[in-house]
Symmetry: C2
Subunit: 347 residues, 2 copies
């Protein structure tokens, strides 16, 4: 179907120079006379020469490939979780224009330990980890230090994460200012680092506000949000606000509230976390704490390409996106607002 692709040797011969010179031109290397460079470049364009990634990888001992490793535990799979897609989009955007490419490994939870060893051994530019448990992250890091974890991992593993604590605090703050006082939360998985941060933020903010924390445990699934809301409604029928640790669960919460006959936001205000594509799909549209996943993934990618990763880490600010699900109820008067206690977090 296609002719043999032109090689560097073809270019060199055609331009009347050595392959070394041609290689230098291709790679923008130093030590080539300007007129030679121009001549070679012309030939490259004419032949539509593209270097062979395989040969380049073999010779250089490293491939221009960023590995994306996603551990699929049912909650976080590419097919069913908006987060993963955003990560891919962010990496892809950063890689566009560079010769580097993105390779994806979706590994089943059970096969993860084995598969991660393989990927770590074969990684070149580096790897980005999504939903990789801390112990496996540490293991990976031991084998390959060119790695960034999306979200905190084991202590020394480079990571990038959103400011979960501040995000949760902002959500509580916003709900409090809207006059809500029976302010409950649905948390994520017990030991998930993101979930821990969001729970901490909620608890700190509630303590600062002098309110009792009302929490229900959960996973990061819709069903968990639904069940958690049912439990909370049973235990605290008078609750008037919900902070939910992720959008997917928040969707379940909205459904549970609707099923229980509570109006949103009139009876109960709801704020989710992630600001995923789901927020505009609910009725009413969901307030949510935005984490800039695409930018974070792009930053992680840049860090990998850059190289200096020793103890690298980065925390991105989160921003509260207020939508219909948490508009202040006009019936709640300002008079019901408590005075701000000392140490109340700034917005």
């Amino acid at each position: 179907m296609q002719e043999r692709r032109p090689t560097l040797a073809d270019v060199a011969r055609e331009a009347g120079v050595s392959v070394t010179a041609a290689s230098r031109v291709v790679n923008g290397g130093r030590g080539v006379a300007p007129h030679v460079r121009r001549r070679v470049q012309a030939v490259i364009d004419r032949l539509a020469y593209r270097p062979s990634p395989a040969a380049r990888a073999l010779a250089a001992g490293r491939a221009d490939v960023v590995e994306l490793v996603v551990v699929d535990d049912g909650e976080c799979s590419l097919g069913s979780n908006p987060y993963c897609g955003r990560v891919v989009a962010g990496i892809a955007a950063e890689l566009a224009g560079s010769p580097a490419q993105l390779r994806i490994h979706v590994v089943d939870e059970s096969a993860a330990p084995r598969r991660l060893v393989e990927v770590a051994g074969a990684a070149s530019l580096g790897a980005i980890l999504v939903n990789v448990p801390a112990d496996l992250g540490a293991d990976f890091y031991r084998r390959c230090d060119r790695v960034v974890s999306m979200g905190r991992s084991a202590p020394r593993v480079p990571f990038i994460d959103p400011d979960n604590v501040a995000g949760a605090r902002a959500a509580v703050d916003h709900l409090y200012r809207g006059g809500r006082r029976r302010l409950a939360a649905i948390h994520g998985p017990e030991r998930n680092p993101c979930a821990i941060g969001r729970r901490t933020g909620y608890q700190e903010a509630m303590r600062d506000a002098g309110l009792p924390p009302l929490g229900a445990g959960g996973n990061f699934r819709r069903e968990g949000g639904y069940a958690g809301t049912q439990r909370l409604l049973a235990d605290h029928p008078d609750l008037d606000a919900l902070f939910v640790a992720c959008d997917v669960m928040a969707v379940g919460a909205l459904q549970a509230l609707a099923a229980a006959g509570r109006r949103v936001p009139d009876d109960v205000a709801v704020v989710g976390f992630d600001d995923s594509l789901l927020v505009s799909c609910t009725i009413p549209p969901l307030s949510s704490v935005r984490q800039p996943v695409e930018e974070m993934a792009a930053t992680a990618t840049r860090a990998l390409l850059g190289g200096h990763l020793a103890a690298w880490q980065s925390t991105f600010p989160t921003t509260l996106k207020v939508r219909e699900s948490s508009r202040p109820d006009p019936r709640r008067g300002r008079g019901r607002l408590r005075r701000r206690p000392a140490g109340w977090p700034r917005g």
Copy 2:
């Protein structure tokens, strides 16, 4: 950080055989004495030998890589469209276990013509195309015949698609049996092959039912669903069912209906298309025509790996998933025209 990875030569030396024999064992080739095979295999395991993809690609002239090409036109980006994630998941699942890997190219609409040429030129195992317009698909096929388009493309380009026509018919059928007679549709982009199939199915089914088609054009975005629904409500205030060409638009439709004070499914039944993760996020849960995207992507991948792609094509059955948004209204008799509920219409 890591020792030099063992090479095939290491394995051969360690096992006391030639590299050829070792290579045969690695690749499961024929012509190796059983006891030799076992001995070599033992060494491979002991050294944890993994063949170098780069060297293999260079020597064999082809890399074990499946290229996924997604044209990002704003409607179909990995970050914001559930469909793309499902494709990735399907390919990844099929590739798990094989040495082949998945490489992702998200190409901007404007850069698509240029980028597709590059990918086609460098493709090895082959490519899977998502949201690639027919003309570009034809162009790609001309340069590289190891390609499958997700959804119909230009005439000779191998493709895999859901049975859009039958899916749409099933949706209309279901709504009709639920007693709906003022049955409108919101279509997808004018020239999108999937959208065309769904529109055709709707129109055929309506004709067969002896009902006048009521259609509004749209894109595949939520806003399009919202606007289309508003238009339809304005033009046909008595409509009692909506078939929407994709879930994302259906979400918009649900919102528009809610804003207009129409109850779902009591006043208006809604059926979407795709059965994406959105269906369980709406209130009420959305009936939808399921297309098995993951399986389709896996099948496409298998086809690529298999090789015989000349004029290959495959159409997958769609199945209607009935949920709350289109439950038959008990007040409606089967086949009887509906009675107007009290308090309607308004606005």
